[in-house]
């Protein structure tokens, strides 16, 4: 899998989350994802960006187009240096929230994308990487 030039977008305000959605939409179109897959990727990105903002205390998204030789895709990585997630299993439990959300952001976005990897250490921060491939 090779990545083309990647873009970096700050996530520090609510309007950055809106911008993230727009950027992801643009790249999803460029990767020739179907309308449903575009919407799934945009929605997953929206969830993860809001987590970065709300729980991670802000951070950034790195996004690029990827090419596996056979298919194109969009890869987005959400990075923060916030408190981290002490119990990943718990955080990945459907309906569990430490705040006042629905607790469906992580589990839901995992289902919406093709690849999902989360890396979090307490006191260091959280990184979530997702990829959506064209069919």
């Amino acid at each position: 899998m090779t990545g083309m030039d990647s873009q970096r977008h700050p996530i520090v305000t609510e309007s950055d989350v809106v911008r993230v959605r727009q950027v992801v939409r643009t790249l999803a179109v460029a990767a020739k994802l179907s309308l449903v897959d575009q919407t799934k990727m945009v929605t997953a990105a929206s969830e993860l960006a809001r987590n970065t903002l709300v729980y991670g205390g802000g951070g950034e998204m790195m996004i690029d187009l990827v090419d596996s030789g056979r298919r194109r895709g969009v890869r987005a990585v959400f990075i923060d240096t916030g408190p981290g997630i002490p119990d990943l299993d718990l955080a990945l439990t459907e309906g569990w929230t430490s705040g006042s959300g629905l607790g469906l952001g992580l589990t839901g976005s995992r289902r919406l994308v093709d690849e999902f990897a989360i890396d979090s250490s307490p006191g260091v921060g959280t990184t979530v990487r997702v990829v959506k491939w064209s069919r």
């Binding site: 309308l35 929605t43 839901g108």
Partner: protein, 283 residues
């Protein structure tokens, strides 16, 4: 002032306030071609000049230091004011850079050395960059404000029929916006005595868990006021995504189109739709 320090030789000449300030105002007034009056500039640049020389006299040239607080505030005022008045970033930073040329004559007269002059120049560059940053930040803010105004404009409550209200949502649904939608919908339900509310999300690009939560809240509030609430305009790609996310709309009635939602509301009110037989007269 520690005049003896190498590199600080540019600070003392700035005490020739009248000469430097007059030139500075002249230059800026020329650059901005009378869009700001000379007295205005005299006041604005005069304050900045005072803050600048006072801070420099206290020692140090680090803009982030405490003694530069007043200067930073004045520069921030200047650039956010310019951004809002529609001046370009070039014109705005140019106001600060003009101080370089304005001070050149006194620097020459005082035989300020090359190295000192370079320091002076670097310092003014810092001020210019600071101004530029504030300018950009203000412009971003203006954009956010404008889009907030657009949001308010774009959430009208429409009366579709006697007793049936609709809110077509367009764009993104954040907390502030939902609050606004909810308030205007509830108000309209009361003031019109309507029993049906339709929230149409045809124009919403993505429904994430936050949007869903906001929608659920709005529907619940409307139901508490005794109104029936229908969500319409759930496009296929949104429906699939919402299901994958694991969101359940439970008891809430959803319809694919606004038309279907209206038909349902009217049926609930006891209306029946009958198509006139071909050839029958309209009376």
């Amino acid at each position: 002032m520690d005049v003896g320090d190498v590199g600080d030789g540019w600070i003392e000449p700035l005490s020739e306030r009248d000469e430097v300030l007059t030139r500075w105002v002249e230059r800026v007034a020329g650059d901005l071609r009378a869009r700001l009056s000379v007295p205005e500039l005299q006041r604005e640049l005069g304050e900045i000049y005072t803050a600048l020389t006072v801070a420099l006299t206290a020692g140090g040239t680090d803009l982030r230091a405490e003694q530069f607080g007043e200067l930073r505030a004045l520069l921030a005022d200047l650039s956010s004011g310019r951004a809002r008045q529609g001046f370009t970033p070039r014109e705005t930073a140019g106001t600060v850079f003009a101080l370089k040329e304005a001070a050149t004559a006194v620097m020459e007269k005082r035989n300020v050395g090359y190295r000192d002059y370079v320091r002076f120049s670097e310092f003014i560059d810092e001020l210019g960059l600071f101004t530029f940053e504030t300018y950009v930040r203000t412009r971003d803010q203006v954009i956010v404000e404008q889009s907030n105004q657009l949001l308010e404009l774009s959430t009208p409550v429409i009366k579709l029929w006697e007793g049936v209200l609709a809110v077509p949502l367009v764009g993104t649904l954040d907390s502030a916006r939902t609050q606004m939608v909810m308030e205007s919908l509830l108000e309209a339900l009361v003031s019109t005595g309507s029993r049906h509310a339709i929230i149409d999300i045809t124009g919403v690009g993505a429904v994430d868990t936050q949007v869903a939560q906001h929608l659920l809240k709005t529907v619940m509030a409307a139901q508490l006021m005794g109104a029936d609430c229908i969500i319409s305009g759930i496009r296929p790609q949104i429906a699939q995504t919402v299901v994958s996310l694991g969101i359940e709309f439970g008891e809430i009635v959803t319809k694919a189109t606004l038309a279907e939602a209206l038909a349902l509301a009217l049926r609930r009110d006891g209306f029946r739709f009958v198509r006139r037989a071909a050839g029958a007269e309209i009376r």
